[in-house]
Symmetry: C2
Subunit: 383 residues, 2 copies
């Protein structure tokens, strides 16, 4: 059907399918078996297997961190951060990124074929949590013969996975970079996700989740969901600076419901292009995983307890104009780490780019990351 549809079952990636006796048992009590994980790697694993960096992707991201995307033909989503000579330097490190379980670019997700029925999973896939994503990643890391990751890094939902990795497998994470994230999803963030889900489920082409079997796609609903979410990734200041009240290709308002304003035209484009590369059910699963994320809740309500005794070194970063994961959410992480005397550096970066700043060429972010990774490499004894 669409490019992303074939990527769900025959991805342009490395793929590992685990034997049926190694299923993923999910937090929801479900079983994913066999579990397939699609992933990309960059650089070379050293003889000690000590130079591996795991990159965790965000809600609508995927494993194509630093290569041309097989569906969109666009460069990788973290090209500012990952590549030769970049802060996550593929000349020095072995970089891994896997599509999360529940995703739609080759790892087992709602758009995958369910081997039990030979039909698309749809909503028959168990609901996935951030911890389930991390468990699946740990199986991949085992498969690659890596014991300890030199670093786990990611922004937004990727940052949630970084925190979950550090809590779940403290001895396997030498250093961690959670960026523009939080240890739990806020009420307002759940609210925005719920709007997106309702938009998708309101689309009659969603067909109670069975649209792929029935040959439809809830493109309008998914597009509206993306438009609403996209606003939260930017900032009022950035929108004002970039678009203001400028009109799109016209000298005067048309007094109609056309896209008179550039911001409208831009948002509609964001919606249209998103549906080309993403699966609507995957969007439901990803947003739900974020909603359920509350790391402290797994440790008796104490975030400090989640990181108790950790030897992982942390670098936490936030952005001044990020209102989805504001600096206060990062500070809560830092306070919890401080409470356990963990090694942590924290930087709040001044920018008007909003939440999406973690994806962009923000010099302060890149310098911070470069500095942290260089220092960690020295501490780890990497040349």
């Amino acid at each position: 059907m669409n490019g992303h549809r074939s990527e769900a079952d025959a991805p342009t990636s490395l793929v590992v399918t685990f034997p049926v006796d190694r299923p993923l048992i999910t937090d929801a009590g479900g079983t994913v078996s066999p579990l397939t994980v699609a992933y990309q790697t960059y650089g070379t694993l050293n003889a000690d297997r000590s130079n591996a960096i795991l990159v965790c992707h965000a809600l609508t991201g995927d494993q194509h961190v630093a290569n041309v995307h097989p569906v969109t033909g666009k460069p990788g989503w973290w090209r500012a951060m990952v590549g030769p000579g970049k802060p996550i330097d593929t000349d020095r490190f072995f970089v891994i990124c896997s599509n999360v379980v529940g995703g739609c670019l080759g790892s087992t997700g709602p758009a995958s074929i369910n081997p039990a029925t030979s039909k698309v999973f749809g909503l028959d896939l168990p609901v996935i949590t951030i911890r389930d994503m991390v468990r699946a990643q740990s199986m991949l890391i085992d498969h690659l013969g890596i014991d300890t990751l030199f670093c786990v890094a990611g922004g937004s939902m990727g940052g949630m996975q970084v925190l979950q990795w550090a809590a779940l497998y403290p001895d396997r994470v030498f250093s961690a970079m959670p960026i523009a994230t939080g240890a739990r999803h806020s009420s307002q963030n759940i609210a925005f996700h719920e709007v997106g889900r309702q938009a998708i489920m309101a689309d009659p082409d969603w067909r109670a989740g069975r649209y792929l079997d029935e040959g439809t796609r809830p493109e309008k609903g998914l597009s509206v969901a993306r438009m609403a979410a996209h606003i939260t990734y930017l900032s009022d200041q950035a929108l004002h600076a970039k678009f203001g009240r400028k009109l799109q290709d016209r000298a005067a308002p048309t007094f109609s419901f056309d896209a008179d304003f550039q911001i409208e035209s831009y948002l509609r484009y964001q919606g249209r292009s998103f549906v080309e590369r993403f699966d609507a059910n995957s969007y439901l699963y990803m947003t739900r995983a974020m909603d359920y994320f509350d790391l402290a809740a797994d440790y008796g309500g104490s975030l400090a307890q989640a990181f108790k005794g950790t030897r992982t070194r942390f670098c936490v970063a936030s952005f001044t104009s990020d209102w989805l994961f504001p600096t206060s959410a990062s500070r809560a992480i830092v306070h919890a780490l401080n409470a356990g005397s963990a090694s942590v550096s924290f930087v709040e970066i001044e920018t008007d780019k909003g939440h999406d700043a973690f994806l962009l060429d923000i010099p302060d972010l890149l310098a911070t990351s470069h500095g942290f990774i260089t220092a960690m490499a020295r501490a780890r004894g990497l040349a």
Copy 2:
């Protein structure tokens, strides 16, 4: 069909229909003829006709300021502000509120019958601007035999009308209270409106705007639009305080797409109840009117010019946690008024209630309003 449907043509309100030789010529170059305005009044007009206060309603408001709503059965939307002994004291003042043109509670709007075709207007109604709303109100004020309004007051879109009244009819406005508003709609605000419109227009039951003729209603789309907008009326702090991550009637998450969280259940309720009382096309018209509002643009780009030489006394109020119309938007109004040496007092009120604070029983808002109106009444020579 629904309660609101009959209110569109046979409102539970006072109604004036102007003769066809007194049409409303809109900014878009359209003609609304005959123009019908539905309105409520409270209190008694004094012999001098000098004690009239015009209240202007917000996007989803209506003329039922201080009486039981004919569709919902709930008390009026500004009962905290308007009534006997309230800041806008109906024992002292003659209070008027009309449904805006383009609305759906009895004034000519897209849900009204088009006399030219005997069918529902739908999108055949010209796009309406804030200035069109104010022109229609001025026709009502003429009809009531009132020359000068003692005060014009309103919040949000109502505040836009207050500013437009002061700019368009400076000699007819003795005092003005624009609350939680701005002199233009921001890029981010246009973006949120566009999401709502796209949600409505994506609903197949919208039928290109002809749903009332065709016996359908885009309830799902309108509900999603309301949910998205509703988040912007609150604040992150208020949502955290009220809902946090609390679950709805259950002890543990269900790991599903049900409304596990209270915030989800609350939002869904907001969507459902809104569609009972509001017309989807009216929602398109109201949001569009706000998008197009840019008072300075009508005065060569200078907001100060809009108020040049004004003798109207202003009281401008904003709320610390309002991110839809932040204090900076109110300050821009105050600066423009100061530039022309206008009489203006300004208060930023500390509250976590967000934009919707203007509707609520916020003591600082009520005290400020009471103080301003009392002082203005003295200045006007009202006993």
